[in-house]
């Protein structure tokens, strides 16, 4: 049985913002010495949907996201946003909000000032800084130094930075790292809220059970190569209700690091 994924995508469609951008990864490849971090990776997260990016440690998720965001140079292939590489975006903070790490703030700067520094580049007013701090629940800690923040608070601050330009597309690398159960619950709600506003959310995570409750589509990679890119609803329907974790383990075990794009018919 081959599931009609396009049909399920249409059913799950939600109104999308006009400013969302089209992310396209095409033949993306990156090697560090003898280690092939990402190999010939091609996919495109659907605009206006939440796409989960799943892979084991070292599978190449962060490297892929960094190449998309212009923080790492690919050896070959392209990662484009509306046809442009990140460095060519005129106003990147307003086009695509990104969270790559929680520890990217000066420990002696207050949370509010850490965001003001970024806001100033894109001429975003201070009231928007206060808005995103309120959105992530950091208003009370806004004037405290980041060095005194817990890991969860830093994650929230990094999320606030990603939302600063009110972008239509958001890229989050392991946003649940360091969050306690309350934080994870809060994050799920936030991602759903962002998606309900019609934004594209591209999120990587190890917490598969958590991710399964949040995402519309899933991209699974192993050994830097694409294993599958399918809508969650279709994937779950084709696997007789198996959990995302079971699907992931099965796919990465059977397909492994040497796989090419996974054929759904193998599983059904």
């Amino acid at each position: 049985m081959v599931h009609n994924f396009e049909e399920s995508r249409e059913i799950a469609a939600i109104p999308t913002r006009e400013d969302i951008v089209q992310i396209e990864l095409n033949g993306l490849t990156k090697r560090y010495g003898s280690v092939m971090a990402v190999e010939d990776l091609t996919f495109s997260p659907a605009p206006g949907r939440v796409t989960g990016f799943v892979g084991a440690n070292g599978a190449g998720k962060s490297t892929t996201m960094r190449m998309l965001l212009g923080l790492t140079r690919p050896d070959s292939g392209t990662a484009t946003i509306d046809g442009k590489v990140y460095a060519e975006l005129r106003d990147p903070l307003r086009s695509i909000g990104a969270m790559v790490d929680a520890n990217v703030f000066h420990p002696r700067r207050s949370g509010r000032n850490a965001l003001r520094v970024l806001a100033r580049v894109a001429q975003i007013p201070d009231r928007r800084v206060d808005q995103v701090l309120a959105l992530v629940g950091l208003s009370d800690a806004a004037r405290r130094r980041v060095g005194g923040y817990s890991m969860g608070m830093r994650q929230r601050l990094a999320l606030a930075a990603a939302l600063l330009g009110d972008p239509g597309t958001i890229v989050l690398d392991e946003p649940a790292n360091g969050l306690d159960p309350h934080g994870v619950h809060w994050l799920r709600g936030l991602i759903r809220e962002l998606a309900s506003e019609g934004r594209t959310v591209f999120v990587s995570s190890h917490l598969l059970a958590e991710l399964a409750q949040t995402i519309d589509d899933v991209v699974i990679i192993a050994g830097g190569r694409l294993v599958t890119h399918e809508p969650m609803a279709g994937l779950l329907a084709c696997t007789n209700g198996a959990s995302l974790e079971e699907i992931f383990l099965d796919l990465t075990r059977t397909v492994g690091a040497a796989s090419s794009h996974y054929d759904m018919e193998e599983l059904t």
């Binding site: 790492t72 460095a87 990147p92 420990p107 002696r108 700067r109 580049v121 930075a161």
Partner: protein, 248 residues
């Protein structure tokens, strides 16, 4: 570009580094002319005179230069230490524009610190002259030249700090390299080369010549020394611009 420069200025302003460093510099900018006036006339030192004002004005230049260099080093290499370079690059993905904004911001800070040092040192020096009943002549004896050159030299120190930090990408390495250069390399090079006058062609020697109030035999002319300093700055900035294309 202007918003990027404002962002860089905000970065420097929103940690305590600037306030603490400039505070220390201004304390010494007041204390050094007072010390100069207090010891003048003792031992072999010449007595205090109206023409001493230029020397009193120049007295804090080394400390102020070192402080502005440090601010520049930390503003640039500190981005890598604290990993803020990632958010900086996400907000402005073109590294050369970020480098240019940092250079511009440190030029502004260097000029501002220089003017503040001028005002404080002139006030303290003037007070010492007044204490001894000497005339205060701010528009003669080389005082205008020192007052004008001081902010320019400090701006240059700021530029050098940013460039060194961008090349080395490590605060420890950058501060260590600056200290080793100032206290070891500049002392060793003339000895190794067997030419003591070579010191005049090195950065600290050139700064001394630019700020000197009286021509000394063997020294470069002030304008030549200024051109030499500018050359060092341009070379370092070019190196940092070329190396800034490296991956994070």
């Amino acid at each position: 570009m202007r918003s990027l420069i404002y962002s860089e200025l905000l970065k420097v302003r929103t940690t305590r580094m600037l306030a603490v460093t400039v505070g220390v510099v201004l304390v010494f900018a007041a204390a050094l002319p007072v010390f100069y006036g207090a010891v003048a006339g003792s031992g072999d030192l010449p007595p205090l005179a109206p023409e001493s004002l230029a020397d009193m004005l120049a007295a804090p230049s080394w400390l102020a230069g070192g402080a502005v260099l440090l601010i520049g080093l930390l503003a640039s290499a500190g981005e890598f230490r604290h990993r803020t370079v990632y958010t900086t690059r996400l907000a402005e993905p073109r590294p050369l524009r970020v480098l240019a904004a940092k250079l511009a911001a440190m030029t502004v800070i260097g000029l501002a610190v220089g003017v503040a040092v001028d005002i404080v040192a002139a006030g303290a020096g003037g007070a010492m002259l007044a204490r001894d009943g000497l005339a205060i002549e701010p528009f003669s004896h080389g005082v205008p030249k020192v007052a004008l050159v001081m902010p320019l030299v400090l701006a240059l120190y700021g530029v050098l700090g940013v460039a060194i930090g961008a090349v080395l990408r490590s605060t420890t390495a950058a501060v260590g390299a600056a200290l080793i250069w100032a206290f070891v390399v500049e002392a060793v090079i003339p000895v190794v080369a067997g030419n003591p006058d070579l010191v005049n062609w090195l950065p600290t020697g050139a700064v001394r010549e630019v700020l000197s109030t009286q021509p000394t035999p063997g020294q470069l002319a002030p304008l030549a020394a200024a051109a030499l300093l500018l050359g060092y700055a341009v070379a370092l900035v070019a190196a940092s611009a070329a190396l800034d294309q490296r991956e994070l």
